[in-house]
């Protein structure tokens, strides 16, 4: 639908979709160090005293992912950064029970109105997407550029021109978000309603109406 299918030897570009990319998970509380002494479980803070490289055991899962590195960097940079692609229903849990096209339409077109943490990818048999997918901007992966280039057969497709431009802007918007507490401008009644849903909310100084009459 919204994809192109570049040849294996085409240069790596932003919006390229790869399968079988390693996603590594680590725990800073439980680093699994391997050295001449065997295997040990060590909190990362205990390894900070020396600056030498350590070797660790990490779990690796093969995932689909999309290149977010800009085209110019993708030509020269030693590393390529990608974002994981997952089932849309897992990334946007609002859609877990969504069935009707009308509801799907509302969810998918949120992009135009809301700065989401995901980018929608429709099903595509040729790429291997049997169901709706989403780029999860929260999960980034880094792989060596030359190694990725040598695995051209793992590239299953690329966003087409329109989707590519949209993707580029969405990445930029996601990473330049201004972090703020969304309740900061709520008035007394709105904040009361908000706190019913989020009891831990700490009002700002200008939201202290304790000295005022109702």
């Amino acid at each position: 639908m919204i994809f192109d299918y570049p040849p294996e030897d085409a240069p790596i570009r932003q919006g390229d979709i790869f399968v079988g990319i390693p996603r590594i998970d680590i725990s800073l509380q439980r680093m699994l160090v391997v050295d001449d002494h065997g295997e040990r479980e060590v909190p990362w803070r205990d390894l900070l005293e020396n600056n030498e490289a350590v070797h660790v055991i990490v779990p690796v899962r093969r995932v689909a992912a999309i290149v977010i590195t800009q085209d110019c960097d993708a030509e020269r940079s030693p590393d390529i950064t990608l974002c994981e692609i997952r089932e849309f229903r897992d990334v946007e849990r609002k859609s877990k029970d969504t069935k009707s096209p009308k509801s799907w339409k509302n969810i998918i077109t949120q992009h135009a109105r809301i700065n989401q943490k995901w980018f929608y990818l429709p099903p595509d048999v040729r790429i291997g997407f049997e169901s709706k997918q989403a780029v999860d901007f929260l999960v980034t992966l880094r792989v060596p550029r030359e190694d990725l280039k040598s695995l051209g057969n793992l590239r299953r497709g690329r966003l087409n021109d329109l989707a590519g431009k949209h993707f580029r802007e969405r990445i930029a918007e996601f990473f330049r978000r201004y972090p703020y507490n969304e309740w900061y401008a709520l008035d007394r009644e709105e904040l009361t309603e908000y706190r019913k849903e989020y009891p831990d909310t700490e009002p700002y100084s200008w939201q202290d109406w304790s000295g005022q009459e109702i």
């Binding site: 160090v33 390894l47 600056n51 779990p59 029970d97 509801s103 509302n106």
Partner: protein, 126 residues
């Protein structure tokens, strides 16, 4: 090597007859050992030893002098000399690795659930 020289000097001082009254700084100032019964040959040896130890004293890091080598030297000298952390078997390491992965995925799902509870509920809105 320099610390070895310092140890030699201290050892020599301990064998002197002043029963601990002579400090290293006294020796460096040259106002001790007169009439202590130490032979000229021994004194000569001590001088050599103390010169070396003094060299090592001046070589300690001066915080007001920028030292570009300092960081490198610390890096080299602070390697893992003895195992730290809890020793585990390969099997346990693999089991923990699996737990780390499961936890990471569980936390991602929980985060997605929390996010979904906030914001616009599209089904309700329509």
């Amino acid at each position: 090597m320099t610390s070895g020289n310092t140890a030699t000097a201290v050892e020599e001082l301990d064998t002197s007859e002043d029963e601990g009254q002579t400090s290293l700084f006294d020796v460096l100032r040259g106002n001790k050992f007169c009439g202590t019964g130490i032979s000229a040959r021994s004194r000569g040896f001590l001088n050599v030893a103390l010169i070396l130890s003094a060299t090592s004293v001046t070589a300690i890091k001066d915080y007001w002098v920028p030292d570009t080598i300092k960081t490198e030297a610390q890096t080299v000298n602070h390697g893992i000399k003895k195992p730290i952390g809890r020793r585990i078997s390969r099997g346990e390491a693999l089991r923990i690795s699996q737990e780390i992965q499961e936890r990471a995925e569980r936390e991602r799902n929980e985060f997605a659930e929390r996010e979904a509870r906030g914001g616009i509920q599209w089904d309700k809105e329509t």
